[in-house]
Symmetry: C2
């Protein structure tokens, strides 16, 4: 079949592997002789439970998730996780947060509704363009957990070294770098990720949670949907989950395994990002905006020498098949999100375009 | 392309129109020259916003939703709506509920976390097999709203006549009969429906809400995701919505318009249900379990003369391409869910099968 696909640099929802989309298309009218599409399957049917269990098993294998961690599929996006984390993990009513951009800011706002938030470090002073120094953290003893957003999409900064949690439980929002590189799960008490950036379609978060952090059902006044225990007790089927997202993410997990797993993804992602950052570092027109040692491999933020020029880049790029290069509306500029599913050829083609643009500017 | 589809009688997720699935398949690799699948689109892109706006416009047209009602697309399923309704609509901290089955029971349990629940009527005494008499309701003046589940899937009963709300705001869970027949939206202050039964893929609820019931942002202690106002202010894009479900539901709305709208759906649904109920009413082996005048057009619950026979029916039916005839695990028996997307031929074929089974029994 013929179709023309663009290089889509959206920060999310974002590109999915073409091979995965083709497989999904092939199963659309009749999934493996069930006589139905996965969208039509009862979530309690054998066929669907097999899909969900396989997806979880493949994710466990990819990330090396130990048996004492639960894997949950929950709706409501990052916004609901901003609330669920403090509602479920605050025992002393106190937690430490790292403020490194818009996503950690939002998490802090929701956590403050549940208890005391100690701001452990912030990069607000320079517009969140770097990861703050965490060598001398002052962490109150009774903090229930420490929370960070491991990759901030808007300014394109990432935690390359985790802060010393001093024995506290570490919670990470990995939405925009999930499965982009190996992850030592035991470094964390809880990892969550919205899947719409680096994995599959919007509408689901994956929560990886150390079992001992579950302490039975929450305060009975709390809505049952917001209780990790309720989801864990029913293996993410307390109510009907986003079955389609589980299916699509499962396909991507299989695809990543075939590609060689997370070490291979890291190698590819480093290689891809280097193509773009190397260009930016020698360009006389463009420059990267994040501090060099904190640069994200996923979201490359940059600018030309003026806002007008940035706008020209976006529109000329779009005409040539490079979509969604506009920076986040809150800060402007340019941004190329190059998640797992962006092929190296896409980044190389973008650099060719930018080089040509610079020449003609 | 060749494919063998089964008649899927699942209570949800459930059948979708074959023509819709084919259209989705056709757009999988390249949606209308965007060069990407809808799953890959930024929810803020022009292409996706157009999809979402068209879906809302088509739903408004189908149901005749007046301008003073908001249409919201929210994740978290019915379970989250059980909580969001009382959190958002209780001003006096008091509401009246009708208890007609498992889904209204669950709604009541969540509402009790937010305030006082007055049980206005119940059919618990006969295992929720009928809709209670509501001719002499005793409704406390200060109830903020009255809540009912308009079609209960487990026992297959439906409200054919709405109770007299005596001037109170009526809230309806229409999940399992949404778009199956015309609906006078102005009878309700709020209608919500999980889409995975009668419309599209699981992972989204549609909330139709009279604007004057929004009273600004809620108590700032409440998680922002649970605030209808937050969703309404951003036209369901406070955070990334379930874009895929919006797209698929939009396709179904278009399909229903082409079919002739909700009057035509009601005609077809009545015709379909009659085929099955007429058979049950004359059968010497099978009998319907819901009270005749309260029978659901969507979920036809019935039994043979023993549990063993029911089990035989389920397995023999499956072998012949009739899937998911098992009654809900909480009550057993048999159930054929015959939502909009089930063709009349499917019901006729099922009746032929049941007739043959009866003959051989």
């Amino acid at each position: 079949m013929n179709y023309q696909r663009v290089y889509n640099f959206s920060a999310g929802p974002a590109m999915m592997p073409e091979a995965v989309l083709e497989e999904i298309r092939g199963e659309m009218m009749n999934y493996r002789d069930t006589g139905m599409c996965v969208m039509e399957m009862s979530h309690r049917s054998k066929a669907f439970i097999q899909i969900a269990q396989q997806a979880e098993a493949d994710l466990r294998e990819l990330m090396g998730i130990p048996d004492n961690y639960k894997v949950l599929f929950i709706q409501g996006g990052g916004t609901l996780q901003f609330s669920m984390v403090p509602m479920n993990l605050m025992k002393n009513g106190r937690a430490g947060y790292f403020e490194t951009g818009a996503w950690s800011e939002k998490a802090i706002a929701e956590a403050k509704k549940c208890g005391q938030v100690d701001l452990l470090a912030s990069s607000r002073d320079a517009g969140f363009t770097y990861i703050p120094d965490c060598s001398k953290l002052n962490i109150p003893q009774d903090c229930d957990y420490l929370y960070l957003c491991q990759n901030e999409t808007i300014n394109g900064v990432t935690w390359n070294t985790l802060p010393d949690a001093q024995g506290h439980v570490l919670v990470s929002d990995q939405s925009s770098m999930f499965l982009s590189r190996p992850c030592r799960v035991t470094d964390f008490g809880l990892i969550w990720a919205g899947v719409q950036k680096n994995v599959g379609p919007a509408g689901m978060t994956i929560v990886i949670l150390r079992e001992d952090l579950l302490r039975g059902r929450l305060d009975p006044q709390i809505p049952v949907y917001l209780d990790y225990q309720a989801h864990a007790d029913q293996e993410s089927m307390y109510n009907t989950p986003n079955c389609w997202a589980i299916y699509c993410c499962g396909k991507v997990f299989q695809h990543l395994k075939k590609m060689g797993g997370l070490c291979e993804m890291e190698r590819r992602n480093q290689e891809k990002a280097k193509v773009l950052y190397d260009f930016l570092d020698q360009s006389s027109l463009f420059h990267g905006t994040a501090r060099q040692q904190d640069r994200s491999l996923m979201n490359v933020c940059f600018r030309a020498d003026s806002d007008e020029r940035d706008t020209q880049v976006v529109s000329q790029a779009k005409a040539q098949g490079f979509d969604n290069l506009k920076g986040h509306r809150s800060i402007g500029g340019l941004r190329a999100s190059i998640y797992n599913a962006m092929p190296k050829e896409g980044v190389e083609a973008l650099v060719d375009f930018l080089r040509q643009f610079e020449k003609e500017a």
